[in-house]
Structures are given as C-alpha cells and as structure tokens.
C-alpha cells in the first residue's frame, strides 16, 4: 500500500514535471478557452441578457471544448516517446497509471479553471466565488478527468488522436455539462444549497457510474 502510494506520487510528479517543462496542456487549454469566452462576450449583448443565465453555459462549454483539446497532451509524451511499454513492464498496478493520469488532468484543469473563472468574473460580472460553484466545479472537473483519462489512453494507439478525442469525449460528457450549466445557473441566481442539491446528486451519480467503468476499461485499452 505504501509502495503503491509512493509510486502514484511519482507517476503524478512525472506527468506534472513533463507538463511544466513543455506547457503543452496549460497553453492549449488556456488559449482555447480564453478565446472562446472573449469571442462570446463580444458577440453577445450583455446589457439585454442576464449574465447569470448565459455566463454558466459559455463558461462550461468553453472548458469542455478546451479540455478535449488538452487531454491528449497528457498522453502525448507516452505516445510520441513510446514510453507506455516501459511503464507496463514495471510491477505497478495498471490502475495506478489510470489514477495518475486522472489526478494530473484534474490538477491541470483546476489550474486553468482558476484563470478562466477569474476572467469570467470580469467579463460577465458573475459571482463565481461561491462555495456551491466551487463544489460544482470540483465534481465537473473530476468527471472530465475520469472520462478524459480513459479516452486519452484509447488515443495512444490511434492516429489523429487530437481529432478523434473530442468526437468521443464530448458526447459522453453531455450529462455532466447539463449538470454543470444547470447547477451553476441556479447557484448564481438563488445561491441556495437546497435547490442545488438535486443537481449535485446528478453530478455525483455521473461520477459514480463513470469512475468504475473507466477503471475497468483502462487496463483493456492500454494492453495490446
């Protein structure tokens, strides 16, 4: 158990170290989502529309699209440098590789969301610094990371992975997107835990379904 935790820590350290040296994930996710948000903010007349209604949709859709672009970057080193095989011959559980990818994607998405949220507060004048919204974003990001860790692994052995991943990833996260947009809208308008709880239940249920499914399929996906 101690060895597994230490190995998991090193796997995450390796992913984050490689990311901070290449900055491929952060740069692609951040630029894409910032561009989307800025384009929407300029094309919508915010004086006639309620930002609390339109803001969450723009925010979460842009994060979902940019995550689908960023997730292949987490696997790109294993793919380009063909290092997955050297991981598979080590005596660690394959689940640990999945957990490390999930946690790495989660950490990197949270870092980019902090910047995206800050910009959205300025552009849309919406109050995102709210405990309910923080919980919603943690649940949503966990879901994105879980599905992303599985589908990213699928892309290692395929060509045109950066094109294929959004096609597979986005339809699967639609329920999560509905949860994120709906619950953020209610949280912004009502700021009421009671009204948000059914939505939060939906998000947690999604994660409870997809987390074990992703673990189950991950090993099958990475083994030739």
């Amino acid at each position: 158990m101690k060895h597994s935790l230490s190995a998991l820590g090193y796997l995450i350290w390796k992913d984050l170290l490689l990311e901070f040296r290449s900055k491929e994930f952060i740069v692609s996710v951040l630029i894409f989502s910032l561009l989307t948000i800025i384009i929407f903010s300029q094309s919508i007349n915010l004086t006639t529309m309620n930002p609390n209604e339109i803001g969450p949709a723009i925010l979460w859709v842009s994060i979902a699209f940019s995550a689908s672009i960023g997730i292949p970057k987490i696997y790109s080193k294993e793919k380009e440098e063909n290092t997955l095989e050297s991981l598979l011959i080590t005596p660690i559980s394959r689940d640990l590789i999945f957990f490390s990818k999930l946690i790495s994607i989660f950490i990197l998405l949270i870092i980019t969301e902090i910047i995206i949220f800050s910009l959205s507060i300025i552009l849309f004048n919406i109050q995102l610094l709210n405990p309910i919204i923080i919980l919603i974003s943690l649940i949503t990001t966990f879901g994105y990371s879980t599905v992303g860790a599985l589908f990213g692994a699928m892309m290692i052995r395929t060509r045109s992975s950066e094109f294929l991943l959004p096609i597979l990833f986005l339809p699967i996260i639609i329920p999560l997107l509905i949860f994120a947009i709906g619950s953020t809208e209610i949280a912004l308008q009502l700021n009421d835990w009671g009204k948000c709880l059914p939505w939060i239940g939906l998000g947690i249920t999604y994660n409870l379904i997809f987390f074990p499914i992703s673990i189950f399929f991950f090993e099958k996906v990475i083994i030739d």
Binding site: S6, S86, I89
Partner: protein
Amino acid sequence: MDEAISLENITKSFGNNLILEDLNLKIVYGEVLCVSGRNGSGKSTLIRILSRLINPDSGNFFFNGKPIHDSKEFRKNIGVLLDSNMLYQDMTILENLKFSSSLYGIKNPQKNINYVSELLGISNYLKSRVKELSRGFKKRTELAKILLHQPRIILLDEPEINLDKATIETLKDIIVQERKKGASIVLCTHSEQFNEPIGQKFAYIKDRKLILSKNP
C-alpha cells in the same frame, strides 16, 4: 538448475500474419540464450511475449515452473530492454532513474543509481536531459534503467544498436557478471560480437519456430 521461464507451444499472429507458431523455449537461471534470426522473424515479438507486454494467441507461459498468477511478482523480477525508446526525453538521466526506482519500490535508490551509472559510464551526465544526449548515451541510460532493480531475468532486444565497440564489451562483461550472479538472460541480436563465448546457448528463429543450435 531452476527453471526461470518456460514457453510451451506459443503461437502469435498479427492479423493474418503468423509470426510465431508452436514455439517452445525453456530458460534456466544462470543461463544466457542468444537468439538470432532474420529481420521480421519474430525476435522482438518473442521478447514482448517473454516480458508479457503482448499475450500469445495460444500456448502456455510458466515462470519459476508455475503458471503466472501474480503478474506483478513476475514484472518485479524482469528487466527488459526494448527496441523502442524507454526514457522520458524532457527529464534528466537522474530523474528517469529515480522515477524508475520509485516504481520498483527500491528502498535506497541513490546507492543503486550510483552503481549502475558507474557501471555504464553515465555518472558525469546524470543532470543532463535525455534529449540532449547522443543515441549511445541514451542506450547506456536504458541499460542502467533496466539493471537498477537487479532483475533475475534480463531480456535484451538488439542491445548493440547505437553502442560503440567499447560499450558492447562493457555490456558483455555485465552479461557475464549477471549470469554468474544467477540471472537468466535472453538476448536477441544480429551482432556477431555476441558470438564470442560469454557462456551462452545459441538459438535462431526460422519458419516461426525457435531452433537451438550449438554454434551461432
């Protein structure tokens, strides 16, 4: 001598391309097996089957005389040099070796890192990023990485590629040393430099079968 790995009637194909058919192989501890064969004869496939990176279509695989129940225990005991890259290019040699040590649960990694880096002559380059190294130094680092956890079974796929003559001699010394310590070594190679006696048995792959021979 104790049996390390035994393959019985192994068949492997990729699509319609049959690579290995009813292949049998027994390797004992303290033995070096040098496998040769033409390009595409299935040497790399054999190494991948022996390291359990790919599963055969049919046949039996035994480790220490028994079918494998705990795949992690098997992987703890093997060191594999593949024909593909095994290092993270954006990390230094030291970071790669430390990372690998952590995955094998090595308790005092610095001691092992010092030993293998001295052995392979890379100790002055530990802080260099892998992408800045020559191919020869990359191969030396890969060799250091696979010896780090002192495996009992060593599988080498064309280790001579990118190595100069002096380093091949060092590698041969390492092979002899590991064999004397009781390790079992399978070496797939084209190089005639491994034909010189280092206590090895010879085999070649022909018509999808492994044939033992007295001479290289």
